[in-house]
Amino acid sequence: MAAKKFPVEAGHIMMFARAVGDPNPIYHDAEAAADTEPGKTIAPPTFYQASAQFDPEYFLRPRIGEPWFGSGKEPTGVPPTRTGGDGGTGLHAEQRFEYFRHVSPGETLTLKTRPGKSWERQGKRGGNLKFSENITEYYDESGELVVRATGVGVRTEKVVESD
């Protein structure tokens, strides 16, 4: 699942740009943005991923009143059967964006998601690797496609060791 509606907000863009360490005034100063080529605040290139904020069921955000798999009293609030007990994890392998235009605060985007390709590969360090694509298309209020995002996730059978 993903968010169905993504309201693009100026404060959200400001916080996102701060988090990625981008001081460009176009992301936080409407007056300065007016003097840029786009003529207004626009979203940074990877901002579209923050549509997760508007997904009511997003699994990587604690849900009110429900157990959370991060630590509290115990190192995890959810029994370890979640990963099959082998320590394997899902990781983000690849992300691509295609921009048909860049959006600005005040717009509300509509999202459509669909699965893409999936494949398997034998990894050097993490055992068998299962890859799957997820495609999210962002449409503006006039129904025009503005951005297409393709994420590739990978599930490993073992913990990926760092070198």
Binding site: A19, G21, E37, P38, P44, A52, G70, T76, R96, S162
Partner: protein, 140 residues
């Protein structure tokens, strides 16, 4: 200022230092802004005791976002038409990151001037943490 086709050449590079010392707090900032609260990125106890990693690590999307600053500083605001990366190595707190764009092609398509870039971000050891491609509209 956007790039100009007449002034950019295949092989040109643009490099930007993204951070000298990535903080756990910046990773938390990214969790808050993006909405991705996976404890692997902020919860040391979960990450070391349950997931068995040496410590928390950055969201791949944080590194992609930080690298995106270099790309947009190079090509200009609102000029990107495509940006994609593979996450090749984890980024850990304390890492220093440097991003580089290299011009692969300067071309015309449907009357538009475009530049194709290879994008690479390396850590303090020179190991590649993300690598990918970007395309942007440029001026004639």
């Amino acid at each position: 200022m956007a790039l100009q086709a007449s002034k950019v050449q295949v092989g040109d590079t643009y490099t930007q230092k993204l951070t000298d010392d990535l903080s756990r707090t910046q990773i938390v900032q990214y969790a808050g802004a993006s909405g991705d609260y996976n404890p692997l990125h902020s919860d040391e106890i979960f990450t070391t005791k349950v997931a068995k990693y040496p410590t928390v690590f950055a969201h791949g999307m944080l590194t992609m976002g930080m690298t995106g600053r270099m790309v947009t500083d190079f090509v200009g605001d609102g000029r990107l038409t495509a940006y994609g990366v593979r996450f090749t190595r984890q980024v850990w707190p304390g890492d220093a990151l440097t991003a580089t764009a290299k011009v692969d092609a300067v071309r015309e398509e449907d009357g538009k001037n475009l530049v194709d870039l290879s994008v690479t971000t390396v850590n303090q050891d020179g190991d590649v943490v993300v690598m990918g491609k970007a395309t942007a509209k440029i001026d004639p």
